[in-house]
């Protein structure tokens, strides 16, 4: 809202208070100042009224004129000018050399295309008076004396503050509300509002019948006037409106707007001749349409409230007037509406129309019901004074104000307890009194009567805020926080995310951060079109951000491609973040995803070559991530990853028998990564962990003793059909080796150290060789024990699994 200091001074004495001071005080009351601008003519002592005696075309420029201008200081001076809108004898503002214009430009004696020019004749815009007519500001009609300083023709410069008002402070959408705040902060009184039109009204039935039949409007008043002379408003009113950013229209409309700016109560003026019979405030009829002031024809229904006459809807209540019932130049009889509309209904109606008007903005923020009559009286005063209007009886009132002043009991010591420092009752009373509240001491504390314009203050805690605002937040002491609550820890998922990031950073990966909303094509690639549909948003803003992400890998592949294209030498990236996965039961579960991707080949040339990064490196990292997540390694295995983001045959999916996590590692689909502009293969890994899997705190490990005796190792080589996964063979070997150790000693490790096919082996089969390591807790194992164990393993593999053991 734009607040003019000159207008504000009607309500609070601002003598000696600078604009800067006001701009400092208001924010500390909760009224944020977004900008401070000057309004009207800035002090420009060297800009004077001049008369153009004569002019001729510039010898070298068709568009310029060479003028002789009298500024009352002797012989006329020569000034070159580009404007066209003047005649000889016109009086115009002349900036004499030495003037610094509002834009910062200094006027000097100069030559324009070789012709001397001693000053500048000014346009409205150049003087900072806003965009006027094209060309010079012609002062001739005002007949000022030549040589008069221009400032003498204009009032003092005003300052306009653009303030933003929080939604709870509808009372500050009028100058008087802002003035009340300022008065409280400055310790000055709020000046009284003097009204000539008496208070009081008559029930509906006077000059116009008013019927209320909508819950959206509990209180409606109407005043009738005749003999109204519609015409332009006086300068002072036009100035005030323009300072507030409104366009003057005619004296009647301007009065309603001016009063709204003044008191925050929107008003509406009807041309009484176009209102047929009784006025009714009612829900719109289904199928009814209304042509609004802005020319739009809007269809209505029972959810919106209208002001209607006996034939049609006239106004969308509290939002915007209709085209056919407003005040025009021909109007002589006026009906002035002042009413209270329920905020939620106005908000809904305005949203439906996609407009926010000065009226709807205020009604939506709960105007003061007591202001309905006040505003109507002030407007009546002005219509009488400025438009020669003659009131037809007192106001007609229907319904009653929906709320009145409220009384809040403030227990003794409550404010101090919330502030955290001693506060004297007298200080509380003083602060609240300055805001217009009435205080009475009671046995248990204070009884505070809050006027109806402050609907946001209903509880003791609200009074604490009021006190602190006026008292000053800087007067709240800086407390020393009490000692922490012992035993609190970060959420396990947060601790995990931190650890896993450190692990990947150490492995050479750079952390990235991508948007959570992705496009449909990416989701289809990740999950398949069917499952992707489960992650679509209801109201996406753009076509690129229509779905929730199901994997971080597309983002990471994109980051690698971007950095390759700009030669930023980035090989490996990772991201830790939430992804969404549709579950078999139809629910969508959030997973913490740890994803990483790297170009298989180095991004920079090096004097020493290195092996490319491969899928196995990624597999290792996925297992490390799973271990950090607390997954039991014995329950993890890998199977083929199929389709989607992965290159068939070169990626593996992590299978977790505990079902706590999901994952994959390998080469990303090469056609896809090539389409992104990446030539070589991209290797990647991803682990998806449901938050619940990380919910338990970590167990503190207990020490287990280990043997100080040497182990024995034996190798076994198994020939199996190629279709048998290595993990299955390893698992069999492990079982057999553990069983062979029995209770006497223990299996320590099984390691696959060779994979061989071809040679003498039958086609379609391969040999896998494993080393087994056994150890005894309290002695060295004998050759016999080792041989016996090996034999047991071989027998188990041959007889149990039916595989060939190479002996």
């Amino acid at each position: 809202m734009k607040v003019s200091l000159q207008s504000l001074a009607r309500h609070v004495d601002l003598a000696g208070v600078t604009a800067d001071r006001v701009a400092e005080v208001l924010p500390m009351l909760g009224l944020e100042v977004e900008s401070v601008t000057t309004f009207g003519l800035a002090p420009l002592p060297q800009v004077v009224v001049g008369e153009i005696k004569s002019f001729e075309r510039h010898p070298k420029a068709d568009r310029l004129s060479v003028c002789l201008v009298d500024v009352g200081d002797g012989a006329p001076r020569q000034i070159v000018c580009g404007a066209k809108n003047f005649r000889a004898g016109d009086r115009v503002p002349v900036a004499l050399p030495g003037t610094v214009m509002p834009g910062g430009f200094e006027i000097k004696v100069s030559k324009l295309r070789d012709v001397d020019s001693a000053g500048m004749m000014c346009s409205s815009e150049e003087l900072g008076l806003g965009k006027g007519e094209d060309g010079l500001l012609i002062l001739t009609p005002r007949a000022p004396a030549v040589g008069t300083p221009l400032n003498a023709l204009y009032g003092p410069t005003d300052t306009v503050l653009e303030i933003s008002v929080t939604p709870n402070r509808g009372d500050c959408l009028g100058l008087r509300g802002v003035a009340r705040e300022l008065a409280a902060a400055l310790g000055r009184p709020l000046l009284p509002l003097v009204l000539a039109t008496p208070a009081g009204s008559q029930p509906s039935g006077g000059p116009r019948q008013v019927r209320l039949s909508s819950e959206a409007c509990p209180h409606y008043t109407l005043r009738a006037f005749r003999g109204v002379k519609v015409g332009p408003s006086p300068d002072w009113m036009r100035r005030d409106l323009e300072a507030a950013g409104l366009r003057p229209i005619n004296n009647v409309v301007d009065v309603t707007n001016w009063v709204m700016l003044e008191l925050g109560q929107p008003l509406h003026a009807f041309d009484a001749a176009s209102v047929k019979g009784a006025v009714e405030v009612r829900p719109a009829h289904d199928g009814e349409t209304l042509e609004l002031l802005d020319g739009r024809k809007v269809p209505l229904d029972g959810t919106v409230c209208v002001i209607a006459d006996e034939t049609r809807a006239l106004v969308l209540a509290g939002v915007m007037g209709g085209a056919g019932s407003g005040v025009s130049d021909a109007t002589t009889e006026v009906l002035l509406e002042s009413a209270w509309f329920r905020p939620a209904d106005v908000r809904r109606a305005a949203r439906r129309l996609g407009v926010s008007t000065d009226s709807s903005h205020r009604f939506a923020r709960d105007v003061d019901p007591a202001g309905v009559e006040l505003a109507s009286r002030l407007a009546a005063d002005l219509l009488v004074r400025l438009a020669g209007a003659e009131p037809v009886g007192p106001a007609v009132t229907a319904g009653r104000p929906p709320r009145a002043d409220v009384t809040v009991d403030l227990p003794a010591g409550f404010v101090a307890a919330k502030v955290g420092a001693p506060v004297a009752d007298a200080d509380v009373s003083a602060a609240l009194t300055r805001l217009g509240f009435t205080i009475e001491a009671t046995a248990s504390g204070l009884s505070v009567t809050v006027p109806s314009f402050r609907s946001d203050v209903t509880r003791p805690i609200d009074l604490v805020e009021e006190f602190v605002r006026v008292h000053g937040t800087d007067n709240v002491p800086v407390g020393r926080p009490a000692a922490p609550v012992p035993g609190d820890e970060d959420a396990p998922s947060a601790a995990f995310a931190r650890e896993v990031a450190a692990r990947l950073i150490g492995a050479g990966f750079m952390e990235c951060c991508h948007y959570s909303m992705r496009d449909a094509a990416e989701l289809s690639r990740t999950l398949g079109a069917g499952r992707a549909a489960a992650l679509a948003l209801d109201n996406p803003l753009t076509a690129e951000q229509t779905h929730l992400r199901a994997s971080l890998l597309p983002g990471l592949a994109g980051a690698l491609a971007l950095n390759a294209s700009v030669h930023a030498d980035l090989r490996a990236v990772f991201e830790v973040g939430v992804v969404f996965r549709p579950q078999p039961d139809g629910q969508v579960r959030e997973h913490l995803a740890v994803s990483f991707a790297a170009l298989a080949d180095p991004v920079t040339r090096s004097w020493k070559s290195r092996e490319p990064w491969d899928a196995l490196r990624m597999k290792r990292l996925v297992l490390d991530v799973a271990a950090l997540a607390g997954a039991s390694q014995v329950r993890l295995s890998f199977g083929a990853a199929d389709g989607g983001l992965w290159q068939a045959g070169h990626a593996s999916a992590l299978l977790d028998r505990a079902r706590s996590l999901d994952g994959a590692a390998g080469v990303l689909d090469l056609r896809w990564t090539r389409s992104l502009g990446l030539r070589g293969p991209v290797v990647a890994g991803e682990a998806l962990i449901p938050r619940s899997a990380l919910a338990e705190g970590r167990r503190t490990p207990r020490f287990e003793a280990f043997s100080s005796f040497p182990p024995v190792t034996r190798d076994v080589s198994v020939v199996v059909p190629e279709a048998v996964p290595a993990a299955e063979v390893e698992s069999r070997v492990r079982q057999a080796a553990a069983k062979a150790a029995g209770k006497e000693f223990a299996l320590e490790a099984v390691t696959c150290f060779d994979v061989f096919s071809g040679g003498k082996l039958a086609a379609g089969s391969r040999a896998l060789a494993f080393e087994m390591r056994w150890r005894h807790a309290s002695r060295t194992l004998t050759e016999e024990e080792a041989a016996k164990a090996l034999e047991a393993v071989m027998t188990a593999l041959e007889k149990g699994a039916g595989w060939t053991v190479q002996r």
């Binding site: 502030v419 955290g420 509880r459 922490p484 609190d488 951060c513 803003l541 929730l548 139809g586």
Partner: protein
């Protein structure tokens, strides 16, 4: 005899020069001290000597043996050196660069987050988390946000279709499910699930239906704090925020609380920061976060008795803090993932 021994040692010494490998060394050793070695032969002849000669020759023999052993030790060292050189290859130029991929780095938002969390942890605020997809109740109703509040508008908030069922935020009745607009929903979940007193800080991703530009992002990150105890005061709020700001922006930074409005706090404030060390923003009051005392209505909605419990809450934007701390002028940098940006904060 003496001469014979001397010539054996001399011959061995000359012979040893040619030895370079371990095999040659073993052969050499056999030639001199092996069963048929030259020195062994002499030693075998010792028995034939007279009783008088024996100590003299024995002494000479020991002398020769010692020399040969020294020779062998030197040879072993030489051979081992050669073997090590062979194993390691030529000496390297220590000034050559390593071909390995350098360590990665944390994203500037992560670094800023950890820095912020570390300062709050000193005050005992530990991390709490919650789902990114939330129910309308947790995101708005429980935070005292009226049903027709503009924040709930389809224009401003991203909603999920009616058929969407979240395993992490099950809906009650016909309420909507949405992408959380703030991490204040974590405050709600914490109040509902934990017994006070507690102090938490909730970092996380939030979403608004905003067109992306230099200062707006479709998703962004917040860090929310909540401190519930008996008798939490405005002085506590100032104390916590003052501590945080001095930790993050240095001891010269100052704060002010500017009255404002949020449905979930009363009183509510915007906290402004002023610091002499913020480049071109130095010395100006900058809006950093919203804060206040938890509104009694919120406590009630979350099952805490406002007569017993009170609280302070605050929420700040991670991107905004990172932009201030590092002088970053465009929020889109955080999501573009250009390494030339990311590396600057490593």
């Amino acid at each position: 005899m003496q001469q014979q021994l001397a010539s054996i040692v001399d011959a061995a010494r000359q012979d040893s020069v040619a030895v370079t490998t371990r095999a040659e060394m073993e052969a050499f050793k056999a030639r001199v001290v092996g069963p048929n070695g030259s020195l062994t032969q002499v030693m075998k002849g010792l028995g034939a000597l007279s009783k008088e000669e024996r100590p003299v020759v024995g002494r000479l023999l020991n002398e020769a043996k010692r020399e040969i052993e020294e020779l062998l030790a030197a040879l072993l060292a030489k051979v081992e050196d050669a073997e090590i050189a062979d194993a390691l290859g030529a000496p390297t130029d220590p000034s050559l660069p390593s071909p390995e991929v350098p360590a990665g780095s944390a994203h500037p938002l992560s670094r800023t987050r950890e820095r912020i969390l570390a300062s709050f942890r000193k005050l005992g605020l530990t991390v709490a988390e919650g789902p990114e997809v939330e129910t309308e109740w947790h995101c708005f109703d429980a935070l005292n946000t009226p049903a027709d509040h503009p924040a709930r508008d389809m224009q401003d908030t991203l909603y999920l279709p009616a058929a969407f069922r979240s395993a992490d935020a099950p809906r009650k009745g016909a309420e909507s499910v949405l992408l959380r607009t703030h991490t204040s929903s974590v405050q709600v979940r914490t109040m509902l699930s934990r017994k006070p007193p507690f102090r938490i800080v909730a970092p996380g991703r939030c979403f608004r239906r905003d067109a992306v530009d230099a200062t707006h992002s479709a998703n962004f990150h917040q860090v929310e704090g909540l401190w519930i105890d008996r008798q939490v005061t405005l002085a506590d709020l100032r104390g916590v925020l003052d501590f945080f700001v001095k930790e993050t922006f240095g001891p010269d930074a100052e704060i002010r609380l500017r009255p404002s409005f949020f449905p979930f706090t009363e009183p509510s404030f915007e906290m402004d920061l002023r610091s002499p060390n913020l480049g071109r923003l130095s010395g100006r009051w900058l809006e950093i976060m919203g804060c206040g005392l938890v509104d009694p209505k919120v406590l009630e909605l979350c099952g805490l008795d406002p007569k017993v419990w009170s609280g302070l809450a605050f929420g700040l934007g991670l991107e905004r803090i990172a932009m201030l701390v590092h002088g970053i002028d465009d929020i889109r940098h955080f999501y573009a993932n250009d390494a030339r940006f990311l590396r600057q904060f490593a």
